[in-house]
Amino acid sequence: MKNSPALYLETENICPDEFAGKTAAQIAELHVYEGNTKSTLGKYFEISGDAGATAGETKIVVKGDVTKVKYIGMKMSAGEIVIDGSTDLYAGAWMTGGKMTVRGNIQAFAATGMKGGELIIEGNAGNYLGAAYRGDWRGMSGGKILVKGNAGSDVGMYMAGGEMVINGDVDVHLMTHAEGGKIIVKGNAPSKVAGQMVEGEVIIFGTIDVMMPGFKYVDDVDLEIEGVTAKFAHYIGDTGERHKKRKGQMVYGNLYQKI
């Protein structure tokens, strides 16, 4: 990044699928938007090196201050992106494959509707990480997300598949409306955990200030989570929500809290 925008920049074109098969000069011509004003990547970024023939063979390293840049890696299907710092909204949103690493923090709506691939955030993640887009009942359905710091609210809303690990704390509304998938939180979750969950698995190592009344304690179980074996209190829920039956058995969401 050489010139930072006065407002914010929308750069869905910073994506292996868009770079693939292009030279640095061609990449510099790809469009970006600052508000309603169209311009080119080249105006804001200095671009060096050529892309691979395909997205899979393309690795993008984003340097400089991109804290006011949205949509990096949106819809990426293959290849790799490394952001050498922090970035703004929609990082890796709707990604279906490939790998994206963010050395700093990301803001809200990262990995919205993620179908596949891998997203690693070394700092903190914002709200609605791996959640569904507004109105959609099809949230994150595949792929892996690792957050080394904390994550915000509404993480994994409408999650249907895939896996998330958050080393720090999360804010309210974890895995709301989930119909599948798995989230591991090494830190604490304040409240409103797994509300309206139909199916899925959430594992909390830390504290939960207020447990949802729809979660019922079943028993204590020993689990091995990422190499750590420990005793967990096992809850099922949301008992207020509808649930499928399999082989005559009601299928609930499962919540495990380390004792």
Partner: protein
């Protein structure tokens, strides 16, 4: 001699009472009295007559004083500001008729602006919830004619919608509710003992910020599953009692307000309340309705939706509509520093936004279109006073239950004053020239 205007529609709140009677001098210039209105509605009509009213656009000078300018100059200023901005915000629209909203949307599309209405700080989270799980609702006449179980959750109609209870929800005798008040059970959920709560058969004084938990407990109780002894400060027994009342009725409805839309949980509170309503339809008939605030915030959502597809927080900067509250919503746009111009009409963010957002408005070029002097006009570069909608001009509006009612003009605006629509048309025609649109 005086003449009386009947079937007048009150342009204050979403209850949109349409049975007002206003007597005016027969030159049609002076309002003498207002009948059937609540205290707020009456004041709305009578204040329009205030002698100290501003009647011409004013440009704020560097020293904070105001310089009167013509509507033409004001339209030039506004058009230049909107056409020149990279990401202008056009906010408000909730005390404006649908015809003016439509012109505003056209300007926004040409200028590639962000358009948002007061749902942003009122029932925006309701709309998010509706988008997540739907909304079983009805018109207010259904409540009047059928409802025997009324729940007010986080709303206080005694204060915010004063005639709601007498016209629709508690007192009226409807087709199947001939005994009026006696034929209805009232449940109120509120952390305060509000004047509405004082009338309730059952008042649940919920711990503030735990509505989501309590609503979840309602669903658990309806399904007869295990419950903790106390949820959100309410003993299990009271929760079960309340849900039994709700199941027992033949037609119930939940009215909810900003107590749930603005508290922790936000859209999820509504989401869960709608889920409760949906669940109850397995046992009886149940509906749910947001208590919309501004008289035509609902209309703004309707017009935006049929023209652009989204009910609020619409971002047109890329030439087509995009929507995602948290990104395209006014408070976030302002707090994140995403916009470079602000056009405010038919609402007062200066008074009703958190101060951090108001500061951002004061730091960019800004135009405020409002008949009143307000905190917003006070921090705007240009203040354009206009005729009062629903008093000095008519136009369509949508009630809280989405029923459209065409407002009536009662008196003339002061000599030479324009309506919102007239001013917006002047701005639109100038923007067309600036943008070279045929």
């Amino acid at each position: 001699m005086t003449k009386s205007v009947t079937d007048v529609v009150c342009p204050f709140c979403g209850t949109l009472c349409d049975d007002l009677e206003v007597t005016v001098t027969d030159d049609g210039k002076q309002i003498l009295d207002v009948y059937n209105a609540c205290a707020i509605g009456a004041e709305k009509f009578l204040h329009s007559q205030a002698k100290d009213r501003i009647t011409r656009p004013r440009l704020q000078q560097p020293d904070g004083t105001w310089k009167e300018i013509s509507y033409d100059e004001a339209a030039d200023y506004t058009a230049k500001m909107l056409a020149g901005a990279k990401k202008p915000l056009m906010y408000g629209w909730s005390s404006v008729n649908c015809e003016a909203q439509s012109v505003g949307n056209e300007i926004a599309e040409m200028c590639r602006a962000c358009v948002d209405n007061t749902a942003a700080v009122c029932h925006g989270t309701t709309l998010i919830a509706v988008q997540d799980i739907g909304l079983p609702t009805c018109t207010l006449g259904e409540v009047k004619n059928r409802a025997d179980t009324i729940i007010f959750w986080g709303c206080n109609p005694c204060h915010a919608h004063p005639r709601h209870m007498s016209r629709y929800s508690i007192f009226p005798r409807g087709f199947f509710t001939g005994k009026g008040h006696k034929s209805r059970k009232l449940v109120v959920v509120d952390p305060r003992v509000t004047d509405t709560a004082k009338m309730a058969d059952i008042h649940l004084q919920v711990t503030q910020g735990q509505d989501y938990e309590l609503l979840n407990a309602f669903r658990v109780a309806i399904r007869g599953e295990w419950l903790p002894d106390v949820v959100a400060g309410i003993p299990k027994e009271k929760i079960i009692e309340a849900t039994n009342v709700m199941k027992a009725g033949r037609f119930g409805i939940i009215f909810f307000g900003m107590g749930v839309t603005q508290s922790l949980g936000k859209n999820h509170n509504i989401d869960e309340a709608i889920a409760v309503t949906k669940d109850l339809n397995e046992y009886t008939k149940f509906s749910i309705m947001p208590m919309r605030g501004h008289y035509n915030v609902t209309g703004s959502g309707e017009v935006l939706a049929w023209q652009f597809g989204y009910p609020y927080s619409v971002d047109l900067t890329r030439g087509f509509p995009r929507y995602n509250p948290g990104d395209t919503s006014s408070i976030d746009l302002l707090n994140r520093g995403e916009i470079d111009a602000a056009f405010v009409i038919g609402s007062d963010p200066g008074a009703h936004f958190p101060i951090s957002a108001v500061k951002k408005i004061s730091q960019v070029n800004s135009v405020c279109v409002d008949p009143h002097i307000t905190p917003t006009s006070g921090v705007s570069k240009l203040h354009v006073p206009v005729a009062f909608n629903g008093v000095e001009t008519g136009g369509n509006a949508y009630r809280m239950d989405n029923v459209p009612i065409d407002c009536r003009k009662v008196v003339d605006a002061p000599e030479g004053m324009l309506t919102d629509e007239q001013f917006l048309v002047m701005v639109r025609d100038r923007v067309k020239k600036l943008k070279g649109v045929a």
